[in-house]
Amino acid sequence: MNKKILIIITLLFALLGGLFFIISSLRNITNTPPVTQNGFPTPTIYQVPDKGALIIQAQNISPLKKTHIGITTEEELKSIPNISQNGNTYSYPSPLILRPNEVIVENGVVVFEKVLIPEDQEGPYFKTVTSLKNAIGDPDGIIKGSAYYDWYAQTLIYSQLGLAAITNPYTDEVFEIHFFEPTSVENYISRFGGDIQESPSGQGPIHP
């Protein structure tokens, strides 16, 4: 009996030792300094993500998005819970009763989706401008002023990635994200930029 236990323990220690050896070896490999030639370090090759990869990253930036732009069909939209239709615009509930999430359909296929980002900072769906920029870089255009959120809100337009975000520059919050087919800034504004409302004064409204 004791002999069996001794064998099992020995095997366990051997297994642990083996694992330790493998992990140590792997760490040594990853920590190996670059090979030098003539005293100069070998240049590190940074992989710049191609546009296609960035588009995929942008289109998957929020798990709240329900459709695939250019792929999801009008028929498939009907599976979204509590979705309602008004012409070619479909709405489904967001955190705000008065501003639902929206999907626009053209020729039977989704061409635009608007997703509201919840305000719960500890929640899984919260987004900041910093996290957005870290993921997909700087926008192609920034426009100040929103018809819904007010004069201070900024729309960051990543037209080539098919994404725009309405944000609060003072708090770093993302209020909502728009998804569409990659296009130009001008085309996004004319087709889907209905919320953009630049304040003439660039400031808040004049009160009585």
Binding site: I5, L96, P118, T171, Q203, P205, I206, P208
Partner: protein
């Protein structure tokens, strides 16, 4: 010898198991803590006005030192009203939401605007309403309410809860209802939010935010007798709890 070895291995396993349980519970508690605050509606608390100490000789400096708010161009009377009002709401979270604001006296005697946040910006341009302490004090809260609303994360002023209350309870004031009809650049829901904050903090105020093309109206404070319970719950959560 063998016994000791088995005991030490068993102890190690027990320690690891206990550590795993503790770690799991800690992570679980952190992930569920945000939901604990969202169950049910918080009770509507009565607001106890804060004690107002005697104003210092340099009131402007006193406001900066106590509340971190800089007021430029205001006369002694308006500085005193500001000193009083900020102390009256000092038992709430409101002063912290507007700490760092800069308020400029608005030279146009008819207008005021919220124009920025904290870092070097002018937060407010505020009219000196002459001879009307209660009116000025209410407007101070309303305009600072915009600062609280736009310059802090939405959660701080319960923006979503307010907007949903707006949808379900309607506007809290005439200004929240039809401000944009008279002043095109205003957004009703944002003016309503600022009024929602101001009326909550100033229970003595009625509908004092008359709009440019509207007549004066002074019904009682909308929160009395249990009015606007969704807003009251949201403001209790944002400003008191």
């Amino acid at each position: 010898m063998m016994k000791k070895l088995i005991i030490s291995i068993s102890l190690t396993i027990v320690v690891f198991a206990l550590a795993s349980i503790v770690l799991f519970q800690t992570v679980n508690a952190q992930s569920s803590s945000t939901w604990k605050t969202r169950v049910g509606n918080p009770p509507i608390s009565d607001l106890e006005p804060g004690t107002v100490p005697p104003a210092p000789s340099d009131i402007r400096r006193g406001i900066i030192d106590t509340f971190g708010i800089t007021m430029n161009g205001f006369d002694q009377q308006h500085l005193l009203w500001t000193w009083e009002r900020l102390h009256e709401v000092s038992g709430t979270k409101f002063p912290n939401l507007v700490r760092g604001a800069t308020i400029e006296k608005w030279n146009n005697e008819y207008s005021q605007a919220q124009s920025g946040c904290y870092s070097g910006d002018t937060s407010l341009n505020l009219r000196q309403f002459p001879g009307q302490g209660s009116y000025f004090k209410f407007h101070l809260l309303h305009e600072l309410g915009h600062v609280a609303q736009k310059c802090n994360p939405r959660e701080s002023t319960q923006r979503a809860a307010h907007e949903n209350a707006y949808a379900l309870e309607g506007a809290i004031s005439e200004y929240g209802r039809q401000g944009p009809i008279c002043i095109p650049e205003t957004i009703a829901i944002n003016e309503d939010h600022a009024d929602t904050i101001a009326y909550f903090l100033d229970r003595s105020s009625g509908f004092v935010t008359t709009i440019r093309c509207g007549g004066p109206s002074n019904p009682p404070n909308p929160y009395i007798n249990g009015g606007f319970p969704l807003r009251a719950a949201a403001m209790t959560s944002a400003l008191l709890n």
